[in-house]
């Protein structure tokens, strides 16, 4: 008794057929690498490298995960990465949200000037060395602050947030709050922030993923190994794998070192891919509903 059912025409059926074929194809394209990585992480590296393992695990072994779980450096890196991501994202939000809100208010004196100055930084960049010197002279080198304070805001995110404020928060609401006696600060904290859950979620995700994946700042600013984030630890293990143990001006000691690193990398390579992306994959579905909404909202202007 399906009243909504409308008989499909032949053309509709053909069209839907195409849609399903195309979707299935797209699904396979994105799904295959995921399955491959999961299978490879529990297969014997020899089977993976020779191409015998191409979809389902072969010669199943959990050796890779065992090594990963026992590796202190990876765990310490994991803890540091979680810390940098949580703390860094917190700092990002603390700076991004008020800035964007201030810039969104038409009655903000000097708004044009500040916006212009912010935008300028998109085109004029200090470059690596001057930035390094600034960070150094601020005394941030080799501290956790070097990981969270430089890049405390990303201009692009400020713009997105500003557009969100401009387009979703009615001016009338602000006026009403002011008439009721709210100061600007109270207005921001009590009214604007509670209304901005979607954009906060989106910003947290943007910044968070950025922190999670970053290794370059750590490489440049950190000397103490106990502060290394996960990505840098993994990079140390995996990059050497790319080097052939046969390049010129090699000494016996180096050849053996690289060989042992290659063996290690071959075993844990796919396992660490999963271990290091799992948290992001787990968090993503919870933020996803905001994510879609947030990006949509940012894109439409009244």
């Amino acid at each position: 008794m399906d009243l909504n059912k409308i008989n499909e025409t032949k053309a509709d059926k053909v069209f839907m057929g195409f849609v399903y074929v195309a979707l299935t194809f797209a699904l396979l394209i994105v799904l295959y690498p995921l399955i491959y990585i999961i299978s490879a992480s529990i297969s014997d590296p020899a089977a993976v490298n020779s191409g015998e393992m191409w979809l389902w695990p072969k010669d199943i072994t959990f050796e890779g995960y065992r090594i990963i779980l026992q590796n202190d450096a990876i765990w310490r890196g994991y803890m540091m990465t979680i810390f940098y991501t949580v703390f860094g994202t917190f700092i990002n939000l603390i700076f991004t949200l008020p800035t964007a809100y201030a810039l969104s208010r038409k009655d903000f004196y000097g708004r044009r000037f500040f916006t212009l100055m912010f935008v300028l930084t998109m085109f004029i960049d200090g470059g690596l060395i001057p930035t390094y010197l600034v960070v150094r002279n601020l005394g941030l080198i080799d501290t956790v602050w070097a990981m969270v304070l430089p890049n405390a805001v990303a201009l692009w995110n400020i713009i997105i947030t500003r557009v969100f404020f401009q387009s979703t928060i009615p001016r009338g609401l602000e006026e009403a709050a002011t008439i009721d006696g709210a100061s600007n600060f109270k207005l921001f904290v009590k009214i604007i922030i509670p209304l901005s859950a979607p954009i906060i979620a989106v910003m947290a995700l943007f910044y968070g993923v950025g922190h999670w994946n970053s290794y370059f700042n750590a490489l440049i600013y950190l000397a103490d190994r106990s502060l290394y984030p996960l990505q840098l630890v993994l990079r140390e293990i995996l990059v050497l794998q790319e080097m052939s143990s046969n390049s010129v001006s090699m000494t016996g000691g180096m050849a053996e070192f690289i060989h042992s690193q290659q063996q290690l990398a071959a075993i844990i390579k796919y396992g660490v891919m999963i271990v290091s992306t799992l948290p992001i994959i787990v968090v993503y579905p919870f933020l996803q509903k905001y994510f879609v909404k947030g990006v949509m909202i940012g894109s439409i202007k009244e």
Binding site: A46, I220, E236, N246
Partner: protein, 534 residues
């Protein structure tokens, strides 16, 4: 109005950037200038200084243990009364950090273990001239008796580390190890295959070599009953090239020297003959068809499946995956002769790696630093830094020989344990590389030495000495080299795979000529002549 404001603020920003650049240099090195330079340095014995001094040291870290926890360095600090702040960026990205340190002038007192790949000869010349790196000549004479003795013994050392202005800016790793002559990993035959085919004697000419590869292909040498053998494999010819080119009378895939004459090998007729030969191997499936597309791990996978007959690697068991004891059955490739080269030639390693120890201008104690490193060049010191103090990796027997100890729980191998004891693991340290006195040697060690002495040492020739180029020369060379090497790399693959027929050889040579190769050769010729005069 808008435009005006924009351009005004642009100017403002630019100005502030310029101003910032201008006065930045004066206070940049504020941090390292606190100790007074007036510390008496003992010329011999330990400690080196009476009053404790602290220096900063930058070196590539292999990521297994922090340098400050390494037992050798801790003990050496107690002996010398010198302590260090160790800055050890990962070896994979060391170059980035080192370049940043030079560019920002945020330099440590000592740069150790960088090697030519990171602290290039060009950088030595450049930063030496600018005074950023200290000249070490006088310091060596006064404070480095062990190194001095080595240099007196082998004049080649001083010749190779002295830059065109007459100064030495970095100390080398000096290799006296049995494998020191290896320029790269050798080619290895799969011993089992030779046995199955009843091959008594390894090929000594190109034709015999070809015949053996054909047998590898056709006669099922791995007894698998299948047609699955690959006679010769490599990853992009990177390692086997040198051995096969040598059969056609070339020593280097680039600049090489023959009797004082410098030439560029990839444009010679010898090279054409090499390409022809390799093309033949490729066509007949004697050379792995995946040579130009596979990665190292795929090559190793084939080795572990016992599918390859001849392959390059540092040691054969890296590829075959067999235990070390079995690897003594895999013989090393014997250098070949051909109508192009009646004499056997093997390109050899100069036995040194430069750029392993430099002092920067911020170093307040260059004398003490030199004495500190000199110990590494003594027999006692090198053994200490190689294998650590007694009780960790070894214990002494009554007759003075060493008894190796097993690695403690939690370490996969003694090598991995060694990496937690001493910094000389995985980097090129400024020291004397040699066998440790009184340490027992495995059958495999002896096998490697015997193979090297039979097949490499008698035929070894250095392709081109370790020279320094002047600033200008270096710049020109860099520009030319970049185009040149990517072109010949690409063309080598095309010629061998037959995508480009060898009838296009003349076009190829004229393209190389149009890339300014003449100047490239001339610069190297001049550098060689300077070197030869010293």
């Amino acid at each position: 109005m808008k435009k005006l404001l924009l351009s005004f603020s642009m100017v403002l920003v630019l100005l502030s950037v310029l101003v910032a650049c201008g006065d930045d240099t004066s206070d940049v090195n504020g941090t390292s200038e606190e100790t007074n330079g007036e510390v008496a340095v003992h010329k011999e014995g330990f400690p080196i200084v009476d009053e404790e001094i602290k220096l900063s040291l930058m070196a590539p870290g292999v990521g297994i243990e922090d340098w400050k926890n390494m037992v050798t360095l801790k003990r050496y600090s107690e002996m010398t009364n010198m302590t260090f702040e160790y800055i050890t960026p990962p070896v994979s990205d060391f170059q980035t950090r080192l370049n940043l340190a030079f560019a920002s002038q945020d330099l440590p007192d000592i740069i150790l273990g960088a090697g030519t790949g990171n602290l290039t000869p060009g950088m030595e010349v450049d930063y030496g001239r600018q005074g950023v790196l200290l000249p070490l000549n006088d310091l060596i004479d006064e404070y480095a008796p062990n190194l001095k003795a080595l240099m007196d013994e082998n004049p080649e050392i001083a010749r190779s580390v002295t830059t065109p202005d007459g100064n030495i800016y970095s100390l080398p790793f000096i290799n006296n190890h049995p494998t020191a002559v290896w320029a790269r990993g050798p080619l290895w035959y799969r011993g089992e295959w030779l046995e199955n085919l009843g091959v008594e004697e390894l090929p000594k000419t190109v034709d015999e070599f070809y015949d053996l590869l054909v047998r590898f292909r056709d006669e099922d040498p791995n007894n698998s009953g299948q047609d699955d053998t690959i006679p010769l494999t490599d990853v992009q010819m990177n390692s086997s090239r040198a051995w096969l080119m040598a059969a056609f009378g070339m020593k280097e895939w680039g600049i090489e020297e023959h009797d004082g004459e410098v030439r560029y090998a990839p444009m010679t007729d010898n090279y054409k003959a090499y390409l022809e030969f390799m093309n033949k191997l490729y066509d007949e499936k004697l050379l792995d068809p995946e040579t130009f597309s596979q990665a190292d791990e795929q090559k190793k996978a084939k080795g572990q499946e016992n599918r390859i007959g001849l392959f390059p690697d540092w040691f054969s068991f890296f590829t075959t995956g067999q235990p070390e004891e079995e690897a003594v059955k895999d013989p090393m490739f014997f250098p070949l002769t051909s109508e192009w080269s009646q004499d056997r030639v093997v390109p050899a390693n100069p036995g040194m790696v430069r750029g392993t120890f430099s002092l920067t201008k911020y170093n307040e104690h260059p004398e003490a630093s030199m004495r500190w490193i000199d110990y590494w060049y003594s027999t006692e010191g090198r053994d200490f830094f190689d294998k650590g103090p007694e009780g960790y990796l070894w214990e002494a027997n009554e007759d003075g020989t060493r008894n190796p100890l097993p690695a403690p729980e939690g370490f996969e191998s003694p090598e991995e344990y060694r990496a937690t004891l001493t910094p000389t693991y995985g980097i090129t340290p400024p020291m004397l590389g040699d066998l440790v006195e009184g340490e027992p040697r495995s059958d495999f060690d002896l096998f490697i030495q015997a193979e090297t002495e039979e097949k490499i040492t008698p035929f070894s020739e250095t392709p081109f000495p370790l020279v320094y180029l002047t600033d200008d020369e270096q710049r020109t060379v860099n520009t030319i080299q970049q185009d040149l090497s990517s072109y010949i790399e690409q063309m080598e693959a095309r010629f061998i795979t037959g995508v480009e027929p060898l009838s296009n050889w003349d076009d190829y040579v004229s393209t190389i000529k149009s890339m300014n190769v003449e100047e490239y050769i001339n610069i190297h010729q001049e550098a060689y002549d300077r070197w030869a005069q010293n």
